[in-house]
């Protein structure tokens, strides 16, 4: 059993858990993920590791409530336990001193980009970070990102914090100003990662993205997370989750993310019917 030692609400519908998992914490590296199961009937939910405290044996997990399982997870509190947690899974990020690195996080994607940003900074790179959200209240980890970046830019869709626009608006500005990076790391919604990749492609700037595909086992056994990368079928769980954004077949990645869209609705309806949401909102307050 894996105990939740801390719960924090970072933004509406975005929550942070510290979870006691000493063996995983001892091995986890930036870019890797875990799969957890809440209880006997639960799904196996993959989540990128946002931070690690090796001494305390803790993992930081940050997630957005987007469906039935994540909403139920949001109802858990400090002292509650996850039934199962397995990891660290996936390949770690390639961290090296490259020169200038731009780290981009969109929405809850700021969480997985944070440990990479920090590692890139520690490796001696000049790190420029861009974090974006729908609106100012949805922005997460601004202070943490500021600490590990040489410069941090904030953008919001509605302009309620930082610059109005998308992360690509800011990235375009930086590129236009001639501050060419040696690497771009972009994690967020598929459309955002695709837009960043399309923007950097003509500049031939290596761009790494992290795919949050539908998974079951997370060990390369089922192939649910497959996506064509450079014309070859890759499994996000074992070959990724990070891939070259210029090689990813974004149309297929987006299509496959919709595989269970009807079932997600069914599960949510039952959840609402059972009054799950009310309870969750009560606790959130």
């Amino acid at each position: 059993m894996f105990e939740i030692t801390k719960k924090e609400i970072l933004a509406p519908g975005i929550k942070l858990f510290n979870v006691s998992a000493p063996e995983i914490a001892a091995k986890a590296q930036p870019g890797q993920f875990i799969i957890l199961r809440m209880d006997e009937k639960g799904e196996r939910i993959p989540l990128t590791i946002a931070d690690v405290d090796r001494q305390q044996g803790l993992l930081t997990l940050i997630f957005q409530e987007v469906g039935r399982s994540t909403m139920e997870m949001g109802e858990l509190n400090q002292g509650d336990h996850f039934l199962d947690m397995v990891g660290p899974l996936g390949k770690p990020s390639e961290i090296a001193k490259l020169g200038r690195v731009i780290c981009i996080g969109g929405g809850v994607g700021v969480a997985p980009v944070y440990p990479i940003t920090r590692a890139m900074k520690q490796a001696g790179n000049e790190v420029i970070s861009i974090i974006g959200a729908r609106s100012g209240d949805m922005l997460i980890l601004e202070k943490e990102m500021e600490k590990v970046s040489d410069s941090l830019y904030v953008v919001t869709d509605d302009g309620s914090a930082g610059m109005k626009g998308f992360v690509t608006t800011k990235l375009q500005e930086i590129l236009a100003a001639g501050r060419r990076p040696d690497l771009v790391v972009a994690i967020g919604p598929l459309v955002m990662m695709q837009a960043v990749s399309e923007l950097t492609k003509p500049y031939r700037i290596k761009t790494v993205v992290s795919l949050n595909s539908i998974m079951v086992d997370g060990t390369g056994m089922c192939g649910a997370c497959r996506v064509p990368v450079g014309g070859k079928t890759k499994f996000a769980c074992v070959d990724g989750p990070e891939f070259d954004g210029h090689q990813v077949d974004w149309a297929i990645a987006a299509m496959r993310a919709r595989m269970f869209i009807d079932e997600e609705k069914t599960a949510m309806e039952r959840y609402h019917h059972a009054g799950g949401e009310c309870q969750c909102q009560k606790k959130a307050r």
């Binding site: 091995k27 639960g42 039935r68 086992d217 089922c222 269970f260 009807d262």
Partner: protein, 468 residues
């Protein structure tokens, strides 16, 4: 009492759930012999002095020895199961899923003139009898002071663990998934092998003193070198055939195309058939095609029917004679309504505007000269392509070795397909103290073959530990 050499009973048929009913539920298809049937069937066994049947058993079960205890004059089912368990730690499982027709029963002397003794069904009977009546006892053994890590809790790993525990070694099984059992849990469906039975067999192995740790992906949370360096004197790798093959045809990424591994794992391990009570979804449409004709393909097709498919096809590029599945599985599938499209193979999957599978383009085949496998090779007939409307496609083309352990163990030799190279008689790999067996060595095979490899490896590991 029947006189030896004179057979008075016919081979007892296995009572089954009615095909129409069972094709819509996940309960076990075969109901098991009644005591009366078991006695009658056992009475057919000649208890040969030189039993040929044992030549066909990969784990050397004393077959006439156990059947003798099922015969009316002895009628001691506890002794029967004890006899089986001298060699086989998973009798309730083997009695259900072993391909007896190509193993023990193939060699039964009765088979020459009539039908062989139903050895597998008797094995199942005594194992189930024990589950219902007895309780498996384990005698305390003197600890050897040696520790062994077993990677993977499928048939080979469980066998190694049990055999070594009985010899006094301290065994820890590391399983990547959240439930132990490997393919017995994620792969073989409930209707063929109830999960409560797998659980019970694993509980019995735990009673021997074996520790089972789930959620441990060796190769990630630790490496073979770390296991050997820190806590363990030897390691057995039984990680199975956990890498799905696809066909590399256009349209394979459309929603509605599953690997058999994904389809079966969603259903069996995650209990997708109970969605939305259980939260892992599994989605099928009215028309389901399963590509391939092995046991996994039959499991996939029969699962699809139970999930509500109106039409379900097995699509296979060779003919019925070459189908690798057990005859019984094919028979059961057909009874339940699975349709065979033989000498046929898909060349393309067509999707709709939402990216969902809509149709399958298939091509007809004919059989040519025998190929390397000895089977007549399928040859595509040009211009024979035709379209079948389809909602779901399950690729059951076989599985390769999962590379997670070998990738993180540089001095572990593998062959060109990625299988770990291990001595057939001992399971010894290129790395001292490291043994391997089951599908990770041989490629996808059967439960009992993996158990046979586990037996041999356990013996070799014991010898290795004794020399340390």
């Amino acid at each position: 009492m029947p006189k030896k050499g004179k057979i008075t009973a016919d081979r007892q048929t296995m009572p089954l759930q009615d095909a129409k009913i069972r094709s819509r539920n996940f309960n076990e298809v075969s109901l098991g012999y009644t005591e009366e049937q078991a006695l009658l069937e056992a009475s057919r066994c000649l208890t040969c002095k030189k039993p040929l049947c044992m030549d066909g058993c990969p784990v050397d079960v004393d077959i006439p020895g156990f059947i003798k205890f099922v015969q009316a004059e002895n009628r001691d089912f506890q002794k029967a199961i004890d006899k089986v368990k001298e060699k086989n730690n998973l009798p309730a499982i083997c009695g259900r899923v072993c391909p007896q027709e190509s193993q023990c029963e193939k060699y039964c002397v009765l088979g020459k003139k009539s039908q062989p003794v139903a050895i597998g069904r008797l094995e199942r009977f005594v194992a189930d009898w024990e589950m219902a009546h007895g309780d498996s006892q384990s005698n305390p053994v003197k600890p050897s002071g040696r520790k062994v890590a077993v990677v993977g809790s499928g048939p080979s790993g469980l066998t190694v663990a049990a055999d070594l525990a009985v010899l006094g070694h301290e065994v820890t099984i590391m399983e990547a998934l959240h439930i132990p059992g490997g393919v017995l849990v994620y792969g073989i469906p409930e209707f063929r092998l109830p999960k409560s039975i797998v659980q019970r067999e694993i509980d019995n192995i735990k009673k021997l003193g074996v520790t089972v740790r789930t959620n441990m992906v060796v190769g990630k949370i630790n490496t073979i070198d770390e296991l050997l360096g820190k806590d363990y004197d030897a390691v057995f790798i039984g990680t199975g055939a956990g890498l799905p093959y696809f066909m590399d045809i256009p349209g394979e990424n459309f929603n509605g195309v599953y690997s058999a591994n994904e389809f079966l794992t969603r259903n069996n391990l995650m209990k997708g058939y109970l969605f939305p009570d259980y939260l892992t979804p599994i989605k099928i449409g009215d028309k389901v095609a399963v590509i391939g004709a092995g046991n996994v393909a039959m499991d996939g097709a029969r699962t699809a029917l139970r999930l509500g498919a109106k039409e379900c096809y097995i699509i296979y590029r060779r003919s019925e004679n070459e189908m690798p599945a057990r005859a019984e599985e094919i028979e059961h599938a057909i009874e339940e309504g699975v349709q065979l499209h033989l000498l046929t193979s898909p060349v393309e999957i067509i999707g709709d505007e939402n990216g969902r599978v809509k149709a399958l383009i298939c091509q007809k085949y004919e059989l040519g000269e025998p190929d390397a496998s000895g089977r007549r090779s399928p040859i595509a007939i040009p211009g024979s392509e035709y379209e079948m409307e389809m909602d779901t496609v399950v690729m059951a083309l076989g599985q390769g070795p999962n590379p997670m352990v070998s990738q993180t163990t540089p001095d572990l030799q593998t062959n060109k397909w990625g299988n770990i190279i291990a001595d057939e008689a001992t399971g010894q790999t290129s790395k001292p103290g490291v043994f391997a067996g089951g599908d990770i060595v041989t490629g996808a095979a059967t439960v009992i073959k993996a158990m046979g490899a586990g037996k041999k490896a356990a013996k070799a590991i014991h010898e290795y530990l004794s020399c340390l």
